[in-house]
């Protein structure tokens, strides 16, 4: 079973993901590829608490993601892949992760960033990373929840 959603979300597992994307995509698996969390068992277990029963959660380092994705695929799981940044999405794609559509839910504000939506702000390096993904066949859609129309990254560039 291919991924039902690949998403950049600096908050990783939180209300929007658990309450809207999981039911909307009928996902039964969450794969969080994040080097910081992979090394922090306490934060992992806190994040896991909010996930409803019946949904499997795996945390892995970026360099382990391909193995985990293949494992979930082999089990026939309907997986949502979560990464915290555009750079991490690029790392996974370069390693061979299979997603042609990339959702961006939350990228928090900091100085020098450009507002794309109320919850998504791009730094110059985000434009570069997403541009790279686009030129490698990945469509990028800024969409917090499945009920919003979403904005494609192409439109934002112009």
């Amino acid at each position: 079973m291919p991924l039902v959603l690949a998403r950049i979300d600096c908050r990783l597992i939180h209300g929007q993901v658990v309450e809207t994307w999981v039911p909307h995509t009928c996902a039964d698996s969450l794969i969080v590829a994040n080097d910081d969390l992979a090394g922090n068992p306490f934060l992992r277990s806190v994040m896991e608490l909010a996930v409803p029963p019946g949904v499997r959660v795996r945390f892995c380092r970026l360099d382990e993601a391909n193995r985990v994705l293949a494992d979930a695929d082999g089990n026939g799981e309907r997986s949502i892949l979560l990464v915290a940044s555009a750079a991490d999405a690029v790392t996974l794609r370069k390693a061979g992760a299979a997603f042609d559509l990339l959702n961006i839910g939350n990228l928090h504000f900091s100085a020098g960033k450009v507002e794309i939506s109320p919850s998504v702000f791009f730094a110059p390096e985000d434009f570069d990373a997403l541009g790279w993904l686009r030129s490698h066949g990945v469509s990028v859609l800024v969409q917090g929840t499945p009920f919003e129309a979403g904005t494609s990254f192409d439109a934002e560039r112009e």
Binding site: G15, Q16, E19, T20, S45, L49, T145, F147
Partner: protein, 140 residues
Amino acid sequence: MIGAVVVSHGALATELVRAAGIIVGKIEGVVAVDISPEMSVEEIHDAVEGAVRTVEDGDGVLLLTDMFGGTPSNIGLSFLGSARVEVLTGVNLPMMVKFPMVREGMPLDELARQLQECGHRSIMIPGDMLKKKAEKKQEK
């Protein structure tokens, strides 16, 4: 589509609806009624009645009040039996978030029960859950 009216002391109702919107996106068919101390019972009743009329489209309306026994709830109860209204007290954010996700095709009374259960289940002590998890791991 089942509508909802959230009634509360102060601006809690408006902010609950706003907060839920941040998580699940704008919720259709919801009106917030904020009750301030200077409002008369008649004024509150009229405000709730107007809100119910705004969101009622034939499938019924859920009145979500902040606290059983409080004025918003007491006045909400006066609508029971009049139109197709169900009252649910002690509304919290998890219930607000669940509402638009489960209301499709569900009868009003069943929706009220599901949201009640969701509200109950959403109150927890995560520290205890983590302790239990750690104990289980040790047993293994």
